[in-house]
Each structure stands twice: as C-alpha cells, then as structure tokens.
Symmetry: C2
Subunit: 438 residues, 2 copies
C-alpha cells in the first residue's frame, strides 16, 4: 500500500462529467489498495469568471480581497469532488488550505509556503478517507486567506506529498507527460519517460509549461518523486525522480522507466528536451561606466522594480572608452516598470542609451553533462547557423544552454535543434499529441 | 456617530450593478459619520447554481461538504463588495464567518451560533474600515465550516449587532418593510412603521417571510433594534424595537415612529398584522388511549423524528370510550418521516387511526393585548364566518390567535380578517407594493 498524492488541474474538473471521471480514477486508486490525497484546482473557467466580476467593480482590487475571492473557486471544486467520491461509496472529506495546514507568509497573490501542518489530512488517511485539499491557497499567520500565485496548485500538491512522505505525487494534466519539445511546434517530439529533478527544473524555468518551477523546486528539495500524466488516459506519463529517490518508488515506477534511469548513468550527454519561452523582452544599457559596482547598482534598481531577470550578458568595454554594454531579458509584464526605474536613475548610472526590444525568443537545451561535452554547443550553434538563425545572447549552466533569437525565428530554431540532436520520434515511437493545450 | 450593522440579501447583490448600488449606500452611511459593519449573502443565483452542480454529482451529499460548497457563495460576494467599496475610496475588508468569530455547533446545514468573538471586526471598526462579513456561515470547534440554515444571514447580522453593541441592525431586502398582511394577497395592506419584538416574533413564527424567526429571537434576547427596509429606496421601513431599547436609538428612529410607539401604550388592543403559512400539513391521531403520559409519549416520538410542531389540539375523550383525538400541524417536509415514526409505534401508542391532511392554511392575527380583549376573537371568528370559511383548529397566545383553514380558503380568510380589523389603507395611506417577492 502506497500513499499517493494526486493533483488535478482546472481542465480535469471543468464540469460535472469531468469531475465524475476524476472521482472514478480516485476511487480506482483507492480500490487498488492505496491511500489517496487529492489536490484540486478551481473548475475550468471559474477563476476567469471571478476575475471578470472583479473587473466590473474595481480598477485595482486590494490583493487581500482578490485572494479571498479567488480562493472560493477551490472550495467549490473540492467539495463537489468530495461529494462525487462519496457517491461512489468511498468516504472523502475536503479541506481548505487553512484546514490542511498550508501556512504561508502574507504576500497576497504570490504567497510563499512557510510551513506544512497537514494534521487533519493525516488523520483522514488513518481513518481510510480520501482527503481532498484545495490547491493554490493557504493561510497567513494573521489568519488571512492567501493564494500561492501561478503554479500554486502544483506547489500545494508537492508540498503536501513532502510533508506526508508520500510515495509519489501524480500531476494530472491534459497531456500525457513532458515532451522533448512542445508538440505544437515540433510534431515529432517524443514523450520523455523519465527526467532527473535538476533537468526538470531547468526545463520548467525556461518555458516548459506543464510543471511549474516552484513545484519542481519543492520536489527537488524534498526528493518527492513526481509523475506527470494525463487525466484522460491510464498510460504512464513522465516520471521525475533521481536514482536515490525513495526505495518504495521501485514498486511504483515501471521497469521501463527504471531502465531508462540506469542507461542515463552510463551515457553522456543525454539531452532531456528543449524548452522555449516567448514571454521575455530584452533591455540593453548602452555605454554604462565600466566602474566597479556599476552593474551591481543597475541590478539593485531592477530588483527594486520587482523584475525577475533571466539572462544577462555584459560585453567587454570598448577599448579606451571605459564604457560597456549590458543586456538582460526579463518578463514582458515587468518591462515598462523596469525601464522607468532605470531612466529615473540615469544620472547615477551614467549610461548613454537604453534600448528596448519587446518580444524575444529564448530556446533552452537541457540535459546532463553538457558543459563537459564541447560537442553539444558546437552541434547547437551549427544547427542554428544552418537554419539561418541569428543568435543574440547565450548563457550556459551545468545542464543547460540558452540562446536568445528573434521571436519569429523561435519555432524554426526549436525544430532545427530537435532534429540535430536526434530527438525526433522514429516511426515506431511516434505518439499522437492528444492534449487540448499546454 | 452610531455603529450600524447592515445586512444585504442575495437579491441586493445579484450582479455588478446591484453591488455598486449597495457599495454606494454603504459609503454614504460612512460619509454621514457612522461606523458600518456589513453582512452579505451570496449573489443572486449563486446558491441555486451550486446546488444544481451538486445535484449532478450526488443524490445525497454529505452535509459537511454541502456546507463547504455553499459557503463559497458568500466569499465571492463579500470580497467583491469590499472591492467595490474600496474603489469608491472607503477602506473595506471582508471576513469569513470564521474570521469574524461566528462560532457554532457542528450541526452542518443548520448550525446554531454558540458564541460571537468578532475581534477582527471590532479592530476594523477602530481603524475606520468598513467590515464586510459573510452571512449564513460560521466555524465549529472542530474548525469545520458550517452554515446556519434558513434565515442564516439575518441571524449573523443580528448576532453581530448584539456582540458589537450596535445601535441598529438594518435588514435590507426587496420590499420596504413589514406589512399588515402579504400585499400579494391583500393589495390594501399597509406598511407597519413600528413593531414590538414580541409581535414580530409571532409574525415571523407564523409565516411572515421577510424576517427569519431565529434572527428576531436573537434581536429580542439581546434587545437589538432592527430596521427592515428596501435596498432600492431611501425611505424608512419598519422599525422593530421595544420602548426600552437603547437610548441612543432615539436619534436614529424617526419621530413619527417614536410617536407610534407612544400611541401603542395607550391604545389596546393594537393589531400589528396578519401572517399566513401554507407550508404546514395536519396529522390527526384518532382514538388514542386517554391515559396519563400518552400525549407526552406521542410528542416524544414526533420530536425524535425531527419534526417541529406548530399547533396542537386535543379534544376531550368521547364519553365512556376512554379514547381521545389529537391533531397537530407540522412542516410538510417533515410529514412522511413523522408518520412512519408514529406508525412504527402503533402498538405502544394504542391508537385507532392516523389521518393525514397534506396542505392546510394557517392564519395568525398578531397584536398586543389580545387575550384580555374578548372583542378580538369575536371579531375574528365573526369575519371568517361571514366569509363562509370553516375553522378547523384554533390556538391562542398572549399576543396571537391562529386558526387552521383549508388551503384554498386561506387568501380569502386573510383579506376578510384584514378588512374586519380596519387594517386596509385609506386612499391617502395607500402604498404601492414595489417588491419582487417576499
């Protein structure tokens, strides 16, 4: 008997029929002899409908009230799901974030989990009940309702799995796992059977949308095995776990995935996949004084404006001028605020010009042992060059290489790199992409 | 500066426009220098929509989950209302039942308030904020969400007003007060300017639908002045307060209503109004043994079946038989369960027959000093007799006479009695009934 945490997103519980299907799956897992804790998001369009109502009443809602409003969505889905499961003869009880002991700080709209005290959930497990927990929400030390921001339900699920020492956290979505690239761009993309946590982190951080970065970070920190799979099929999805994950995992992970794991350890480099990101803009500060601490000062100002910077490139100062250029990418939504903050500090920063490129493309190649294998970057740049695609910025990490391209070149770039690294599915491996969106 | 608790029902916040109108009224009250605490119900059809969803998933939902589900409705309305008020420049904060300290027992679906600890609401008042509190919901000692059942939001409002020592509790609805009879039955019914708490209690207990019995009981026990008025007009509605109510009330109650109060004290009897009730059935136990304790045993069995009995009449035993008949009325929804319980105890109760009359009408005449004035009952029975209406059962209290009629005679009975007691509006008093429902 294993303890399994299952997370269902809004598209899996969009209406009564979908909810019954989810309830059936939960009951099947229970009947197979496992203990089940479920984390559920708000039904389909609920959140959009609530935001629309708020938009009719106010231009800028107090964030505390917005959290109160949005948290109603999971209350509805979780209690309905509990009813559906009870109707099928399996006892189920629903818990709000507060009742499930999801303790957070007070940053409404993007609260961080500060502690997990799922006593009532643990009691339900002992009593043979399926516990249904509201995703996305928690409670602050002031007893206020908070929401965890984007990817919040995934984060709730992984945090619960960690606190309860679950054997696996299953993330149900509308596609059947993680692919070597977005199948909408690369029709020959293959489903990945197994990924290490570090690689998944890089993929999530650089544009893969199925799993949210925060959830993967939690999974890595607490070594929670994840299984990303489709709520519309019984097929295995993608397993995310390191080889030293819980020994109990062996019984749950199918042999084939374990085999992949063993192979990983002898072959290098292993490309896990290609992530892409269209949400970033680029800012270049031209002719900034090449004085000590000037770059640090610039990024203090950017951080104070609340922007999360992704890539940074600083070129060497042009000989004799004592001035350098610094480029960085940041989420498009943060750009205007950041530009204003930098321009307000123009005298202090002593730069000559600010250039703004809205909408750049970023391609990230993720895999183990990249930096130690010079052939990887050569093949990457070679394939892009052959496809006639210009590279604007490059950054690398131990297991990732990211390049900035023009937005309109991004899809072609992803396809070219996918082919060059032999990731395309052979005829026998070809899978049909059955998702409705990513 | 007074402290005013305002309660708005679902029809007052049915959409964004209605919500803005309510927000405006709250801001106006605040700008007039008063502190305001607001209790709000779920928006218009929210509750029905949620029940409909539940009905698609389950035949009989666990009541705990049903309470969890329905409580989402007030979360939505209260946070939206807080946003609308903030948008108008007045600080407002919303609180769930738990956050507002509405402590209840664990009877899901019909929880009783066991304590009020509205510390956060009181703090909001001190800080100049409008506190918006979810009606209808509370929290049990097990930290579970409970709902208060029918009339729950009125009860929340009155309980909060009592705990906060508010000067008045305003109940906003879609009609402009309490009438001498239901204007849909008696077009000439008059709005009552002022009622004593006891009379209001009798009216609410016997079918007047605007104010729920539990809320009136709370108001009487804690001496909270109520003002029932329309959210669509600024006109005064009906004041419900005894003459010894808070002295501060004097500044709030319009002189005209106070004058009515003084007049009440010299004139007797004063008829407050006529309530009617179509929701009751009648059960007659024929030929029950006229032994000590037999009636008590019958009503123990009825109580154990969960039925709330309204009227009881026991006739004298037919000479020589040693057997009597007992009739009582009870809510139609409780009838089948109650009949089954009585029939299961047929041997013990030793009765000859059970007769069931589904759907009877009950007319209740309420006013001060009735029993001491024999003219009242004579006039009541006379007017019904003239109208050719048969009376089946009669009960009386200090300030009420109730009669059971055939369901189809009830409307005519109400009109006949209304006229006989001179309650019809004169031309100059005539009001247009502007409500959409009662």
């Amino acid at each position: 008997m294993a303890l399994i945490v299952q997370k269902y997103g809004g598209s899996s519980v969009s209406d009564a029929e979908a909810m019954k299907r989810v309830a059936k799956r939960i009951c099947d897992t229970r009947h197979a002899g496992h203990n089940v804790v479920v984390v559920v998001s708000a039904m389909g369009d609920t959140t959009d409908d609530l935001l629309d109502l708020a938009g009719q009443l106010t231009e800028e809602a107090p964030q505390r009230e917005m959290d109160m409003l949005l948290s109603a969505g999971e209350r509805i889905s979780m209690s309905l799901l509990a009813m559906a499961i009870n109707q099928m003869g399996v006892p189920a009880v629903s818990y709000t974030g507060a009742q499930a002991g999801v303790l957070t700080d007070s940053h409404f709209g993007k609260a961080q989990i500060t502690g997990m005290v799922p006593e009532r959930v643990a009691r339900s497990i002992r009593e043979g009940q399926v516990a249904i927990v509201a995703g996305f929400q928690g409670v602050s030390s002031d007893d206020d309702v908070t929401t965890l921001g984007r990817g919040g339900s995934d984060t709730t699920a992984v945090a619960l799995a960690a606190a309860l020492h679950a054997d696996v956290c299953e993330i149900y979505t509308d596609v059947d796992g993680l692919y070597t690239a977005d199948p909408r761009i690369v029709p020959t993309a293959r489903r990945v059977r197994r990924l290490r946590q570090e690689e998944t982190l890089e993929l999530a951080a650089h544009g893969a949308k199925i799993l949210h970065l925060r959830a993967v970070e939690f999974a890595r920190r607490y070594n929670v095995p994840l299984h990303v799979r489709s709520s519309f099929s019984d097929k295995d999805g993608t397993w995310i776990a390191n080889s030293d994950a819980h020994p109990e995992l062996v019984g749950l992970v199918p042999d084939a995935a374990l085999k992949t794991l063993e192979e990983d350890q002898v072959e290098a480099p292993v490309i896990s996949g290609i992530a892409h990101d269209r949400s970033q803009d680029k800012i270049t500060i031209v002719g900034i004084a090449d004085a000590p601490g000037m770059a640090a000062r610039l990024f203090q100002i950017v951080a104070a404006a609340g922007a999360n910077i992704d890539m940074i490139v600083q070129n060497i100062p042009t000989s004799g001028t004592g001035r350098a250029n610094i480029s960085f990418t940041l989420p498009g939504a943060d750009a205007q605020r950041t530009i204003a903050a930098i321009e307000a500090a123009k005298d202090e920063l002593d730069y000559q010009d600010l250039r703004y490129s809205p909408g750049v493309g970023i391609l990230s190649l993720v895999g183990a042992g990249m930096r130690t294998n010079p052939g990887v970057s050569a093949k990457l740049f070679g394939s892009l060059s052959e496809a006639g695609i210009n590279i604007d910025m490059i950054t690398t990490s131990e297991i990732r290489i990211s390049v900035v391209t023009k937005l309109e070149d991004l899809d072609r770039a992803v396809r070219a790199v996918h082919s060059a690294f032999g990731l395309d599915a052979t005829e026998s491996e070809a899978v049909v992409y059955g998702g409705t969106g990513r």
